[in-house]
Amino acid sequence: MPKISIIAKDGTPFELQVEAGSTVMENAVRNSIPGIVSECGGACACATCHVYVDEEWIERVGPPGSIEADMLEFAYDVRSTSRLSCQIKVSEEHEGLTMHVPERQS
């Protein structure tokens, strides 16, 4: 059960103990973290679960897949650390993973 941390847009940190194999989006939504919408529920179809992965983590988390990258290209304020959180599966190696919620989703 790695612990991950999501910083809301107002700076409030949410520390979550999550199951390995679950996605960051699922955990964010279950815990009602503001700013993660996820209309499509994880189908990589809506781009409303955009997060910035902390610089320190981006290499370990890795780049977006091709569909994800295509969706992200048109997201609001996309950066080199942008990912769709429904496509980030948490593993044991992600202990301490930190992400930030963007200003808005679209």
Partner: protein, 414 residues
């Protein structure tokens, strides 16, 4: 006192929500998020806490998702926010004079504002043609999927009745799991009601390639059974097909009966205005059950996006933050390795432009005259994202520019 849309409800106002699907859940969550402190009651017929339906015909049917992962929120969410979640409860009537909702167990729940999120139900096959046989399933509820799950064994022969998105998704899952799949569609082509011939052809080819036997212009005469269980299907051309079970996806009907019995205006759904308010100013409706004014006509959308946005505008209207609901229709479907994303609403189109992107992406752009109405994008998320923005902004690129493969789709954005 007449409640005006700009006046927020009293802090103590009792909100009752009938229907615990996407719209009902969203309305309650949004009301709390916007700070309504008064009592909220969410009444649902099913035993499960509110859950996502789209995966039912996709990942959940494939066995890739467990039940609890479908739930929007864990059960403690409702307790923590004092949302009185009443599951396995049926509403029998709405009394608009006394402002109470009557439950089938005989008790009543008083309301100051009522929200109807009663959804839609699958159109059923008549019993006269075998619709009541065992082994005939629909794709709407968790219980529907759970009851058909044991049939999904390699070699079983499934008949899918209806070539809309639900039928096609069920066919894709069945074929992936090694079943023998026959899909019949009574009208001339699959997706006839919702898509252009090009999109129909795209999915016809895809399913054909994946081994689905797809018969268009083929009605169902009757299902026959042994010991009450369906065993064969007689088609309109008198051919008889041996089958093990049937999945029916022939559209849905909005659940308007409660509203109708209460005397609310019905027009292809519970009729609402721009604030999702029904003909009774204290009663709102949202989601699959509601028909709303849109570009000088009235439409009803069956989609998650619409359920969320309408439910949020109900909450905003109640809190005195009404901004008027403006639909931004979008849909998606997953079949085999194809992701279809639809931006806009194509009804009323008179011409279609085709765009082939680098790789296997294809998209069809629906126009009425020079106005872009909608885009079906297959494995082409960039096109979808651009199209969604264009349509929401009311911008219509020239179809010849759209079709030109040399055009970078991004350059279409203003």
């Amino acid at each position: 006192m007449i409640s005006m849309s700009n006046n927020p409800i009293d802090q103590g106002a009792r909100i009752v929500v009938i229907g615990a699907g996407q719209a009902g859940f969203t309305a309650c969550a949004k009301l709390r998020e916007l700070g309504h402190p008064g009592p909220i009651t969410l009444i649902g017929e099913e035993a499960h806490p509110p859950y996502q339906r789209p995966p039912l015909s996709k990942g959940y049917l494939l066995g890739e998702m467990t039940e609890d992962r479908l739930y929007f929120r864990p059960i403690n969410f409702y307790q923590e926010r004092s949302i009185d979640l009443r599951l396995s409860e049926r509403v029998g009537f709405i009394d608009r004079v006394s402002k109470v909702v009557g439950l089938s167990n005989g008790s009543t729940v008083p309301y100051d504002r009522l929200i109807l999120t009663t959804g839609a139900r699958p159109r059923s096959l008549p019993a006269e043609i075998g619709g009541d046989l065992e082994g005939v399933f629909y794709v709407r509820n968790l219980a529907d999927i759970n009851s058909m799950a044991h049939h999904f064994r390699p070699g079983q022969h499934v008949l899918i009745v209806g070539g809309g998105y639900v039928g096609l998704e069920a066919a894709a899952v069945s074929a992936k799991l090694g079943l023998e799949v026959t899909l019949i569609e009574a009208s001339q082509r699959i997706l006839q009601r919702v898509a252009c011939p090009q999109t129909s052809a795209y999915f016809r080819n895809l399913h054909g390639k994946e081994g689905v036997v797809l018969c268009e212009d083929t009605g169902l005469k009757r299902l026959s059974g042994e010991d009450g269980h369906v065993r064969s299907a007689e088609l309109a051309d008198n051919s008889v097909l041996p089958i093990d079970f049937v999945i029916v996806g022939i559209g849905v009907v909005p659940n308007v009966e409660l509203a109708e019995a209460a005397g609310l205006t019905i027009d292809n759904g519970i009729a609402v205005d721009e604030d999702c308010r029904t003909s009774d100013p204290d009663i709102y409706a949202a989601g699959d059950c509601a028909s709303f004014p849109w570009r000088s006509r009235r439409i009803r959308l069956e989609s998650v996006g619409n359920a969320i946005e309408q439910a949020e505008s109900v909450a905003k209207a109640l809190m005195g933050q009404s901004s008027g609901y403006e639909a931004k229709p979008w849909f998606w479907s997953d079949q085999f390795d194809v992701k279809l994303q639809i931006a806009g609403y194509s009804q009323g189109y008179d011409n279609v432009a085709t765009r082939k992107s680098v790789g296997d992406g294809v998209s069809y752009w629906y126009y009425r005259g020079g106005d872009l109405l909608a885009v079906d994008a297959m494995n082409d998320p960039r096109v979808y994202m651009v199209a969604k923005r264009l349509i929401e902004a009311g911008t219509s690129p020239d179809p010849t520019v759209v079709s030109d493969p040399a055009t970078d789709v991004k350059s279409l954005l203003p």
